[in-house]
């Protein structure tokens, strides 16, 4: 081989003091960066196809706005999946929290921040409650997370319907819809996008940098090992599910703000869409690693595709086909690049292909 990578080590004993990875690499993650490039390619293609409609700030604004609620849910889901768990209940917990919160706010009356803040707190408490239930059942009762959250998925939706009698509540304080739902900052940056971005950044830092994130990854990497070295695995699992529930509750308020109604028949595909985003973002369903930014990119890929297809006038049936195909291709390209990267500086994919041909 011409130009082999420099020999990185000449001492036999002891460890190398290689520099710590730069911060952006940790937060972003090599994986998330790959898939982010793919998202940029998709955006570029649509921008060329529809420069005057797709490639407009007003359009990106709306895409972001529509992805905001899912992004908040995605932060929690990433933590759950990194523990090798899954949470199917988020959509229903969102609806339940929205319902209870709306009922409380309706009974309080008022359109101002007073009522709204009570509503926000109530929604988050509802989310915490159901997340805690999930966590306890997963961690203490050792029931598979799929079953636990499928159960609470049905139960919370059922309770939401019981509470409302199946009729949506649309008495939402005006301040929520005008400020959070459709307000803007810095001219035309939607408030809900800013809120979601804050949640995402906090979540990303937590997962990559803090003890909480480290324990989350440790539990997903090897529950047995974490337990043996004295990590309180059960407690960590309960925390993670509870946090996810809290975020779902918070998302319930965001949804109320955006839709001005409880939309109990909505969120039907939320769990699947969020899980897909997490996996597109490079997090393994088997746990142990993952990045929040990857999840956000994983949300935007289908969102941008759908937006682009609608704008370019692709028929809805073909959209489904195309979204499915692009999804597979995107993750495939990502996985090719990733396995190439794992081979280090020594040539990657091309060399592999070449070597396979000559070497065997």
């Amino acid at each position: 081989m011409i130009d082999p990578a420099p020999r990185t080590e000449t001492v036999a004993i002891g460890t190398i003091d290689e520099p710590n990875a730069p911060w952006w690499k940790k937060i972003f993650g090599a994986q998330a960066f790959q898939i982010f490039l793919i998202l940029l390619v998709i955006i570029a293609v649509f921008a060329v196809l529809a420069p005057s409609t797709f490639a407009q700030w007003s359009n990106f604004r709306l895409i972001m706005q529509n992805a905001s609620i899912l992004a908040v849910l995605g932060v929690g889901m990433t933590f759950v999946i990194v523990t090798a768990g899954i949470d199917l209940s988020i959509g229903s917990v969102l609806v339940f929290s929205g319902v209870v919160s709306a009922m409380v706010m309706r009974s309080m009356g008022g359109q101002g921040w007073g009522t709204a803040i009570v509503g926000i707190v109530v929604a988050i408490i509802c989310g915490i409650f159901w997340g805690w239930v999930n966590g306890v059942l997963v961690a203490k009762a050792k029931i598979p997370p799929l079953i636990v959250t499928l159960g609470t998925f049905g139960a919370t939706l059922g309770f939401a319907q019981i509470l409302t009698g199946g009729v949506d509540i649309s008495a939402v304080p005006l301040v929520l819809t005008t400020s959070i739902g459709y307000g803007n900052v810095f001219g035309s940056l939607p408030v809900i996008v800013v809120i979601a971005a804050v949640v995402v950044v906090i979540g990303a830092i937590m997962l990559a940098y803090t003890k909480f994130g480290l324990y989350t990854r440790a539990v997903g990497s090897s529950e047995e090992a974490a337990r043996r070295v004295g990590v309180k695995v059960d407690r960590q699992l309960i925390y993670v599910y509870t946090m996810t529930g809290a975020l779902a509750g918070f998302a319930g308020i965001l949804s109320l703000s955006q839709f001005a109604t409880t939309a109990i028949a909505g969120q039907s595909l939320t769990n699947l869409n969020v899980i897909a985003a997490v996996v597109i973002g490079g997090t393994s369903l088997f746990g142990g690693y993952g990045t929040i930014i990857g999840t956000v990119v994983g949300l935007f890929i289908p969102a941008v595709l759908q937006n682009g297809f609608v704008i370019t006038g692709v028929q809805p049936y073909w959209q489904q086909v195309a979204v499915g195909a692009v999804l597979i291709v995107a993750v495939y390209a990502d996985q090719l690049r990733r396995s190439a990267a794992a081979r280090g500086a020594s040539g990657g994919l091309w060399k592999k292909l070449l070597f396979r041909r000559t070497g065997s």
């Binding site: 803090t210 990497s221 043996r228 990590v231």
Partner: protein
């Protein structure tokens, strides 16, 4: 050892059944402070099961365990490790996706100073420095401190687990076949480390199939056979033939414990 001293750990009549296999069968065990006890036995004799039972990661069907003469809570690994007991498991206990430093400090991270620490941030630099020192102490050849341990060589992983246990133990450390994957030099370092640790008054339970190593480091040797302790010997008063005979059942001896 004299009778007046209180064993740091003492187990009586431990039994554990897996399906049709009785891995522990009324097994006894004891170790005194600062002592190095080797636990030997044929494959499947129950050594690892005993270690797991004594370090809180496996519940037994019956039997009692005393720490410093007291029945204390030893039902979870975290309770046990709070007592100052650390364990190198035979199948190790490393999180494969984390790096050597993270594994070294898992569950015991150093807080960053000030507000950052309160927020859950860690002092990565310090942990890195100390880990490196601990690995170098063992002569471990951990080549990268930021690669996942799941991708490391058998010996590298074992060295990380040993460094961790030795670093944190204050009363007792279990080493379940710690040198199995180690190179010649690293093995020597581990045996030296065992002596050094026990000089500090920390008890060491050493499991190995290498009789020379066992003879070299032990104060006492306890032999397990089919889940039962069949002999307790002074390392000075025995020889390889006797040990092998006891392990395989060729020699039968009452348990003198």
């Amino acid at each position: 050892m004299t009778d007046e001293r209180v064993p740091v750990l003492e187990a009586r009549g431990l039994s554990r059944q897996f399906g049709h296999v009785r891995a522990l069968n009324e097994a006894n065990f004891d170790i005194y402070p600062g002592e190095v006890v080797s636990l030997i036995g044929d494959n499947g004799a129950g050594k690892s099961t005993l270690v797991k039972a004594l370090s809180g990661s496996l519940a037994v069907d019956s039997g009692t365990i005393r720490f410093d003469g007291q029945q204390v809570d030893m039902s979870t690994p975290s309770a046990v490790s709070a007592l100052g007991i650390e364990t190198v498991y035979q199948d190790l206990a490393l999180a494969p996706h984390l790096d050597p430093v993270q594994n070294m400090y898992l569950g015991r991270e150093l807080k960053a100073s000030g507000l950052a620490g309160a927020l859950g941030f860690m002092d990565n630099k310090e942990m890195r420095k100390r880990s490196k020192a601990a690995f170098d102490d063992l002569g471990a050849t951990v080549r990268s401190l930021s690669a996942e341990v799941g991708a490391m060589s058998g010996g590298q992983r074992q060295a990380i687990a040993i460094a961790r246990a030795v670093h944190w133990a204050s009363r007792l450390v279990f080493l379940d076949e710690p040198t199995a994957a180690l190179g010649v030099r690293q093995t020597k370092n581990v045996l030296d480390t065992i002596r050094r640790v026990s000089d500090k008054g920390i008890a060491v339970v050493f499991i190995s199939h290498s009789m020379p190593h066992v003879m070299e480091v032990s104060d006492r040797i306890q032999v397990l056979r089919l889940g039962t302790r069949v002999a307790t010997l002074d390392a000075k008063d025995t020889n390889m033939e006797e040990l092998v005979g006891l392990m395989t059942g060729a020699i039968v001896k009452e348990d003198n414990a």
